[in-house]
Structure formats: C-alpha cells, structure tokens
Symmetry: C2
Amino acid sequence: MSLARPHVVVVGAGFGGLRTAHRLENAPVDVTLIDRNNYHLFQPLLYQVATAGLSPDDIAHPVRSILRSQKNLEFRLAEVTGVDLDQRQVHTRTGSLPYDYLVLAIGGQTNTFGIESVAENAFGLKGLEDAVGIRNHILRLFEKAAIEPDAQKRRALLTFAIAGGGPTGVECAGAISELIRMVLVKDYPHLNMHEARVVLIEAARQILPALPLNLSSEAAEVLKRKKVEVRFGAAVSSFDGQVITFNDGSSLPAHTLIWAAGVRAAALADALGLPQAGLGRLVVQPTLQVEAHPEVFVIGDAAHLPGPDGRPLPMVAPVAMQQADQAVANIRAALEGQPAKPFAYKDPGALATIGRNAAVASLGKWQFKGFIAWFLWLVVHIVQLVGFRDRLIVVINWAWDYLFYDRAIRLIDPQRSCDT
Amino acid sequence: MSLARPHVVVVGAGFGGLRTAHRLENAPVDVTLIDRNNYHLFQPLLYQVATAGLSPDDIAHPVRSILRSQKNLEFRLAEVTGVDLDQRQVHTRTGSLPYDYLVLAIGGQTNTFGIESVAENAFGLKGLEDAVGIRNHILRLFEKAAIEPDAQKRRALLTFAIAGGGPTGVECAGAISELIRMVLVKDYPHLNMHEARVVLIEAARQILPALPLNLSSEAAEVLKRKKVEVRFGAAVSSFDGQVITFNDGSSLPAHTLIWAAGVRAAALADALGLPQAGLGRLVVQPTLQVEAHPEVFVIGDAAHLPGPDGRPLPMVAPVAMQQADQAVANIRAALEGQPAKPFAYKDPGALATIGRNAAVASLGKWQFKGFIAWFLWLVVHIVQLVGFRDRLIVVINWAWDYLFYDRAIRLIDPQRSCDT
C-alpha cells in the first residue's frame, strides 16, 4: 500500500459501504472500511433471527473474510465518533484517520418519534442484538406463561404487538404467528394457544404502502388467515412494558412491542455539523456529494435525496447499493479531473413475505402472490446472501423448518436470561 | 398426568439429567425436568464454539423439542436455589415443587482452587456464555493488535494461554493454534503471525493423564507441530488480565487465560446440607442414593463415588449417562418394592482431538492415533449430537472448514463488544 495514493475512508459495512469498498478494488486509491461490528449484516432476514428460524451466524458474515482478497483495502473495527471536515479526519474511539475522500454509509436506526416510553420498553429491529433480544424475550415469555395460573396475566404475557405495517412489520408479524401456531404449540402442550395473540398495528389504512392496493389488501387477508390481527388507523402513544396505550385512549395489555414503525438516519448524522433534512438524513447534491465538501459522499439510509416523484428516496438496500456505484464512479471521475454525474434510481420493485407459502411481489409491470411470490422471495434472498456456506446452511434451516414445522434456533441466550 | 402417580423431579438437563428424564418415559411416574437454561448443551464441542468453528446453535438443542413426545414429562425453566429434604420440596426462583423422588444431575463448574485473580480474569469453558465470551475476546484482541504499533504490547495481546492438559485444554489449544495459523493469518495480512503464541500450561509432567503414556507423548508431539508451546510442571499462581504469574515466580505477558485446569461440583451442591467429599461432590451410596435420604439420587459430576481403583469416578459424560440408567433402574425397583442395585462403571475409553487430522484414542485394548483417531472422533461426536439437523449442519461446517481452512463463525457479538 503506497502512502502517495489518495485515501478513501468508507464508514459503515452495510449494503452501501461494503459495495463502495469492493467497487474501489481496482481504483488507484487506498481504502479503509470502518464499522463498529466486524461483520456485514444481511438485514432483510433479521426478523428470521428474531423468530428463531435462523442463527445470527447465518445472516452475518465477517467483513475481513468478505474482502480478504482486496489488496488496497484495510478494515478497521471501530466506532466513529465524529468527522473533522476541515482537517479531513475521521475520529474513532481508537484514534483518527485522515482521508482524501470520505463515503458516509452510516445507515439508519430505529425512530420512535420522541415517544420515550417506546424507546425504553419496545424492541427495535435493526441489529443482531435486537433480533437475539426479541428471540430470547418471546421464548422467555412462553416459559413464564407455562407456570402462570392467572389467565388474564397469561394473555398479557402472550400478546405480541408489532407497530408498523411496512415489510419488516408484516414479515415479523407473520413469522411470530407461525412460530406460535406451528412450533411452540408442540413445545407447550399444556398451554392454550388461543390465549396467544399477534397484533400488527398500522397508523394508516393500508399495509405495505410501496405495493399496489390489490397486493396490499391480499397481504392483509393472508395475515388474517395466519391469525395475525391487523389494527388499521391505530397509533401507539405509550408502552410501559406491560400495556400499550393508543392515541384514541384505548389500550392493549401486552408484554411485547416490536417497533417497526419508523427509521431515521444513524445518530452519527447529528454529530457532523452538516445540513440535515427529514429523519435526520444528510442533504446531498444529486451527485451524492455534500455541497460544501465535495470530497464527502453520503449514500443509503443516511442520505437525503429526492427521487423522480419529488419524495426522498426510500431507506432500502437497492438505493444504497446503486448509490454506492455512483459514489465510486464520481470518486473515479474526480481522480481523473472529470465532473461528477447525478444519481438516478432504478426501482427494482417490492417484495414482502408473510410466511409459509405466502408473499406478495410487484416487479415493474409484473405482480405475483401466493406460493410463486414466496418462492421468488426465497430465491432472491438466498442468492443475495454473502458466501456459499451461509446460503447452504440457510437453505437447510429453511427446508428443515418447512418440512417439519420446526424452528431450529429456539435458544434462550444465557447472558440475557438473568431475570429467570 | 395423574396427580396420584409418584412425582420424580430431575434437576439438570445435561447428559445425566436428560437421560434420566427420557428413560423414565414408560415408568408409572410423572417427571419434571428443571434446568436454568432451555437447552441441552453438547459440552464436548464447546471448545469449537470458543474457536469460531461452530455456532452456539449447533451444539445446544431446546429441551422441550428433544423431549416433546414424552407424555409424562414437564420441563421447567428455572434456577434451583435449594432443596428441603424433609418436606421433599425443590425450591426455585419461580416457586417450589414437591417430589417423591429427586435426581440431582446438577453437573460441575470451573474450579480455580481459590485463586481469586484467576476466577476474576480467566475464562472458564463450561457453558455457552463462556465459549461465546472466548470467541469474542480472541477476535477482539486480533482487532486491537492490528492497530497496536508497539511490538511488545502486540505480543501480549496475541499470547493465548490455556491452563490444564486434560482433553478440554488440549483440544482448545490445538483449535486456537489452527484458528490463528490457518484462518486469521488470511484475515490479518499485515499482522506478523510469528508474534502470536499459544501456550498450554500443565502442572504435571504429562498431558492427557487418562491415556497411556505413549499416546500422551504423541499428543504432546502433535501439539508442538501445531505450534502450541507446552509448559510442563508449571502452575499458575495469579492472572491480572495482562500477565500470568507462575508458582516459581516467572511470568508470561498474556491477555488471555483459559482455565481448563479444574472442575468441581456445581455450587448448588454446597447449599443442600448433604455430606460432601473432594471437589464439593455429594457423597452417595453405591446405589447412587444419599444415605439419609434414599429417595434422593445424585449422578454425574456432582456425585462422589469411588471406582474400582478406589479413586472417585471421573467427571465425564459416560459416567453421568451410565449412572442415569442405574438411577432410573433403582427408582423403578423402589416403586416395585425391590432393593436398589449398586452402580458399576464400564469405561468406554478415552478420545481427544488435537486439530485437523490429529487425535489420540484408547478404547479398551485398542489404540489409535493420527488421521484414523481423528476420523473416529468426528464420527463419535456427530453420532452423539442430538437431532439430525444439528448433525447435518455440524458436518457442513466441519467440511467447509476442513476444505477451505476457514472458520465460519467469526462474529464479535455486539452486546459484548462494548469496550471497542
């Protein structure tokens, strides 16, 4: 690694950051990729870890092993605390790094819109620790319910609420309901599973708003068939860990609230002194550059850029990955003294699964539902997983669960079960 | 479940407890199996979780799913706090259970022989949390070493000491050395791996004392070829987290000490008011009954019973499993008014692996070493794993690692990496 080459620092090893680092492989630069975890997380399958279908190891892959063959890359495990934009230095808890170009791919985090009781007592679903926490919590509640003589208390222990009718909320609700009706019903023969409820809470009148209305209605129907109660037009105002209170004053006794109702840019975005727009996202030029600092690029969830319809681009993996390509192209252009080009998003469509044999997909002019959409969903996700071994083990876990109505990973993690 | 049937409470879902509960399936009793975890742990492969070869889920299987089909069994997730021997009640943190017969299969725990600094700063290797803790710790130290400019500090970060030359210590030392020399060497191309050391500390003059001397010498030779330094006649007197001090006053700068040098009966044994012998083990009659309480049986690591040579039986799975069978036979005999029979141990031999293609085995008159012993070890362990899915995934993980010199599970667990 020559010190004379320009140094590109990429912050974040999610879909956008990982792709940026990788695409710079043959560029005349040295690359440092920083993340606070040593792995790349395949977030779309996080809800399967939360519902005991997959192991954390199946969807998280060490960054060093993914990028092992890339000669111009160094990985740094560190938490970024700030950026000195004038001195061109990234500050971390374990020292500072100078940069010539900076790509901020810092991602998003759960957004409870200032509802503190929800922030304190509900689960988010953005990181591995969230997912493992949810898995432990659900299984522990079933153990508690198994020895709880009071029916009313049992019902509160076994009511699982999910706020937010986007893909994460829908997939999570469907998976929890199947976990209960197909797997745990066999583990707890003395529990009356009619006491268990899964409630999906959606503030609007429609779930999966990215999909055409007919598919979204179909998804709501399938959820009902899978015994998920869908509450439209309901907004959570507070949650104390035992009772959810809604804006209309009504309430629901429940020991679990999974918050999939909002995402915002990662907190680091607030610490940079750069212009922010809605959801804390950093305002970028169409070229993905920060206006006052053209050597700084922001991509993915943390970037605020309006799409063709004037609304900000969604916080989804395809946006981050396409923006990674554009950021790399623009860094290469800058190195060659060429002007940067604007980013144009090509929407690949939307896909959401509701559980066994059921999914909805809208890909351009094509619409799919039922088994075909579900199979499409499987294939798309298996292909995108990093590494052949991960793919193989995920396929085996899924096939096993599918054939035997089982969930393999029903462990309550010892360090997190202290209150038993 | 009829209340009129005698109630057998089994404490502990390790090898002994799980087998006891299962073997009571057709006995005219109701069984409650209690464990503080919701899974049965396949302890012989724990060191593979510690060294990133297997996922925790591969060697831990939910108790409810193992014993799902057993009609006369209830599982209770609870920590046992004590036993009222006169009232015949088992006390747990979530209530008490009456029993007619009690089988204490409470297992063992790490024994640091009163060396407090070791208890505080070294890792044990008895539970999943130990193994995951070691994995996180090793990987984090490599990340720290990667940005440490001082060679002396780097060497201390990369010195991994294991105390205890029994099978656990030997297997762990071999696996850490292979993790470093075959896998991490590719992850950290800028680190000089000659700075990394694996040191196996044994107080006696021989490792693997359960094996014939020629096999034990062979094992020491293989360890050396795998670049493990074996220190004979060395006893640890203290460890502050950065330096190991020995009884002879010498010291070794190392940030890791894995303590495989001692096991004792689980702490619960001290809380029962029953006679204890060496290592806190509960004294039992040859029938495995407690003298003053013939309705109480103790089996496995926590039971003190001399073998044919007059020495207490070892704390190994075959003893626990054979004792489970005897305890069940004696409970059945008691139900039928027959006398209890004494336990006789049939030693199946000893087997230890030192890593890739290398193991030693002594089975009756037969001795094996090298690839054949290693293959035997693989087969024995895969066959004993609970559940076909676990076996399949373990085989895939092992085959993958074997073919590609890889370790799949190199994740640093987020909740445990707070100090990065």
